[in-house]
């Protein structure tokens, strides 16, 4: 197909799509006033019923906690899939030797400035992640966002230190176990409601003080922490698996 014909077909599809998108944007409801009555009900109920100031987290980890269970296991399964796909066969298994190497030049040494800044940032990043995980019911955030931020801490560690240190501190077998633990504890916290004689994933823990603090929200806080553990460990496993690929590639050169 000629370049010209391809371009014509593209514009036949793209221009109506662009027009529709602009129309849709023009008809967005004004900020702060949604069209759904469900939103209004949740906004009114979450603070009183669940002692959770952030209605979004209340929906994720309480009213629609079962959906989040599914999403959590989607992530769990995809991390497992990546690890399986990228598993290196035993004959080209050189992963014990993870020095930064390349054929033509040495990997540039990390400058002291990057090292110092990185080490300062590791603690800051991880504590910020923990803050986001534990304050999901109070302010925007929650287990998923916080978990990714915690995993970023390990990333900074790799940038500030060297590959060897990183591989020692991010052993995939350890974090695979932690990830499984996080996923399992979500399901188990939900099953606790069955023991208490309630529906699966019902909120059976005392709701704590209101207006909400870190201790509020009952199972919302517990489930958020479970997701935080699962997501952070899952992302660390993902990053390590991919990094091993990149490091192995550098060695081959």
């Amino acid at each position: 197909m000629s370049d010209r014909a391809r371009r014509i077909i593209f514009f036949v599809g793209a221009l109506p799509l662009a027009a529709l998108l602009v129309l849709a944007c023009l008809r967005l409801p004004p900020s702060g006033r949604g069209g759904s009555s469900y939103g209004d009900v949740i906004n009114g109920a979450a603070a009183d019923e669940r002692h959770a100031a952030d209605a979004v987290t209340a929906v994720n980890f309480d009213y629609r906690a079962f959906d989040t269970l599914g999403e959590e296991f989607i992530l769990f399964t995809s991390v497992m899939g990546v690890v399986l796909l990228l598993r290196r066969s035993s004959e080209d298994d050189t992963e014990d030797d993870t020095d930064d190497k390349s054929a033509n030049r040495q990997a540039p040494p990390t400058s002291d400035a990057v090292r110092a800044l990185g080490l300062a940032l590791v603690g800051l990043t991880v504590s910020f992640g923990l803050y986001i995980v534990t304050h999901g019911q109070v302010s925007p955030g929650g287990g998923f966002q916080g978990g990714v931020i915690i995993a970023t801490g390990w990333m900074v560690l790799y940038l500030a230190g060297n590959a060897q240190t990183y591989c020692r501190l991010a052993s995939p077998s350890l974090f695979e176990a932690v990830e499984a633990l996080g996923a399992a504890s979500y399901a188990l916290v939900g099953a606790g409601a069955l023991v208490a004689g309630m529906a699966y994933l019902a909120n059976y823990v005392p709701l704590g003080p209101t207006p909400s603090t870190v201790r509020s929200g009952g199972t919302i806080a517990l489930l958020s922490v479970a997701v935080g553990i699962e997501v952070s460990a899952g992302f660390i496993v993902l990053i390590s698996t991919f990094l091993k690929e990149a490091l192995a590639e550098r060695q081959d050169q």
């Binding site: 004004p30 900020s31 925007p140 990714v148 995993a151 992302f235 991919f242 990149a246 590639e249």
Partner: protein, 92 residues
């Protein structure tokens, strides 16, 4: 008024950076423009009063996504080279 201005500037920013990502030819450079696009989306979500979504977009768009793209490119380069090497051996 200010709200509408903010909202439309955020939408315009997304509309401007989106094609820029598509027009970046080198995949490695594309990983960087993709992060800028993520940042613009974060701003848009924030202006539209969805801080939870904005936070998720910021973390995933700034960290996980570009990293995965870059590492996947590294993996593909290695596979290409392995295949080239295999071809050379066959020719001999």
């Amino acid at each position: 008024m200010i709200e509408a201005c903010l909202r439309w500037s955020a939408i315009a920013l997304v509309a401007a950076i989106g094609p820029a990502v598509a027009l970046t030819r080198d995949p490695r450079a594309q990983a960087i423009t993709l992060t800028l696009y993520g940042l613009a989306l974060t701003l848009l979500f924030f202006v539209l009063q969805a801080p939870d979504v904005a936070l998720a977009q910021a973390t995933v768009g700034a960290v996980a996504l570009p990293l995965m793209v870059l590492l996947t490119l590294a993996r593909m380069r290695r596979m290409d080279r392995d295949r080239d090497r295999g071809d050379d051996e066959e020719e001999r």
